[in-house]
């Protein structure tokens, strides 16, 4: 496999958060759907207990980037990522294939004499490839609400039960707490045993948030979570996220620029598979440095 190198570095404008406070980080990440490359050397720093928003026109790769972060793309044999993803400094892309590709690339870099950080093999080995553990630490909420066909209670308990067997009272407390934090408790407390499918779309989405945070992940990834919701449900979800960032680190992909401006601390603007600009949200929206960002946030294209 030959990889296009460095082609991308030309026009990325990054303002990095403090390095020592990153929960999650993507470094020079390339992503492929089969032979089609859809991410080009993307860097993404995610600061702890902040909301990081990814914006950009359809097909720019923001969802792809998000889906790489918990390796959910692993489900599909044709898709693969090359590069580094660090969760608390530990490598995420540690399966055999990713490693081999990364080594090929690093050796290519050494041959061509361009500077690149060598892989910290020891770190890679130590962090292992336990997908279940990774996904317990990095939760995900999808565009369309995905309640499981079971009771509200069981929905929330589902993830917890995968990892631990808890006594009933303790589980009750976990479910209660997760629903409360997802701002759903008041609406469902009397019908915990009825099906999650009977809730409204907005409630279902908050149920999915509750399910995601019940396992106490470090990072919560949200892929356009409000796009299928009406404005009121959407506002409720935003409030929930603002509350949640006290305990969790949040990465959200959104088509809604106002939403990104309202709730996020950092924003990354992506275009055609590249990270065009990344920085504090206020700065990126009021004073974008890249021309493309300026055009996009002022509504000139996209």
């Amino acid at each position: 496999m030959t990889t296009t190198l460095a082609k991308s570095e030309q026009d990325t404008t990054m303002t990095w958060p403090a390095r020592d406070n990153l929960a999650l980080e993507a470094r020079k990440l390339d992503f492929f759907y089969g032979k089609n490359q859809s991410l080009f050397s993307v860097d993404l720093p995610v600061e702890r207990n902040k909301i990081t928003a990814l914006i950009g026109p359809s097909g720019c790769g923001k969802s792809t980037l998000l889906r790489a972060l918990n390796r959910i793309y692993d489900l599909y044999p044709g898709q693969h990522a090359i590069g580094r993803i660090l969760l608390d400094g530990e490598d995420v892309l540690t399966d055999r294939k990713s490693l081999q590709r990364l080594r090929e690339r690093v050796s290519l870099v050494v041959e061509t004499g361009q500077g690149e950080q060598p892989i910290d093999e020891e770190n890679v080995m130590r962090s292992g490839t336990d997908l279940a553990r990774l996904r317990a630490r990095v939760g995900m909420v999808f565009q369309k609400p995905t309640p499981f066909p079971m009771s509200i209670y069981d929905n929330v308990a589902f993830g917890v039960r995968l990892y631990q067997r808890k006594p009933k009272a303790e589980m009750d407390e976990i479910v209660h707490r997760a629903l409360k934090r997802a701002a759903l408790w008041e609406e469902v407390k009397d019908k915990l045993n009825s099906s999650g499918l009977g809730l409204s779309g907005g409630q279902q989405q908050r149920l999915c948030v509750a399910r995601g945070i019940a396992v106490e992940p470090e990072v919560l990834l949200l892929d356009e979570p409000a796009s299928a919701l009406d404005p009121i449900s959407s506002a409720k979800l935003e409030d929930t996220l603002m509350e949640l960032k006290r305990d969790f680190t949040i990465v959200i992909v959104t088509h809604n620029l106002q939403q990104a401006a309202r709730i996020s601390d950092y924003t990354g603007f992506m275009y055609l598979g590249r990270m065009i600009e990344f920085g504090p949200t206020a700065e990126l929206f009021s004073n974008p440095r890249a021309q493309q960002t300026r055009d996009y946030v002022t509504g000139r294209f996209g």
């Binding site: 959910i72 489900l75 317990a136 995905t146 499981f148 079971m150």
Partner: protein, 280 residues
């Protein structure tokens, strides 16, 4: 312009009338069948049908041996068909469906789906009856299972493919393994469809006569021994309906009505159950 409009309206009307007529013909045939079945069957239907075994011509009797035999063989066949069919369908939908081997399996399943049941009967005759020197209810159950399995497999695959990919991803995103997601989430959300597959399979085999003639043969006595020949409703109906005795023919009609009612009620119960579990 006007003519063209008229023509279109006429065409539209003609199409609707044609569709309506076709529906009427199909429904009419169905109603006629059901009507004659009820009319003729009800006459022979009384408590003795359930309590007594098949009579000699001219004496009093019922169909209890055939009823019990049918229940036994259909039940074993469905257990086999559901286990194999659901697992095979799941494999096709979730794991190997896109591999060359998966394509072969799907194709063979489709062939089996339309295989003449008499061939299946002959096959099981060669497989189980001849080597073991005797007809048996086990052979009958296996033959019926061969007929029901492809239906369950096909329905399972189709219904699993209809389940949202996002649901699978959501399960995996929590850290569950693929098989866990399939068992705990996908099967659950597809339950109504899986039940339908089972019902279709059952409906297919409940009236099958040909494969049983070569395998379970039939038995005029009451028997629950699966390793010996066993009576069944279809074979008994076959035997009685062709006979010259009025009382046998009456019993044949009663048996046919019983099968129809059984398929219908199991359908209704199954669907109600599937809906119930979905709501829970």
């Amino acid at each position: 312009m006007f003519d063209r409009m008229m023509f279109r309206q006429f065409l539209n009307g003609a199409f609707v009338v044609a569709c309506g007529l076709a529906t009427l013909i199909a429904l009419g045939a169905l109603i006629l069948i059901l009507w004659s079945l009820v009319q003729q069957g009800l006459g022979g239907l009384d408590l003795k049908v359930f309590t007594m075994t098949q009579p000699a011509p001219g004496s009093v009797g019922g169909l209890s041996n055939a009823i019990v035999g049918s229940i036994f063989m259909c039940a074993w066949a469905m257990i086999f068909a559901l286990v194999v069919g659901v697992l095979a369908g799941t494999w096709l939908a979730e794991y190997g469906g896109d591999t060359p081997y998966g394509h072969v399996v799907r194709f063979l399943n489709d062939v089996l789906l339309s295989a003449p049941s008499i061939l299946v009967g002959l096959f099981v005759y060669e497989l189980l009856v001849r080597p073991f020197h005797g007809f048996s209810a086990w052979a009958g159950a296996v033959a019926l299972a061969f007929l029901a399995t492809p239906i369950v497999t096909r329905t399972t695959e189709d219904i699993l493919n209809l389940q949202a990919g996002a649901l699978r991803e959501a399960g995996m995103a929590l850290g569950a393994s693929k098989s866990f997601v399939i068992r705990k989430i996908i099967w659950k959300s597809a339950r109504a469809g899986l039940v339908t597959g089972g019902l279709l399979g059952f409906a297919r085999i409940s009236g099958e006569t040909a494969p049983l003639l070569f395998t379970s043969l039939g038995n005029q006595f009451f028997s629950t021994d699966m390793s010996h020949p066993m009576a069944s409703l279809p074979t008994t109906i076959f035997q009685f309906a062709l006979s010259a005795y009025d009382d046998w023919r009456r019993l044949a009609w009663a048996g046919a009505l019983l099968i129809a009612v059984a398929v219908l009620s199991i359908n209704i119960i199954g669907r109600a159950l599937a809906r119930e579990t979905r709501r829970a």
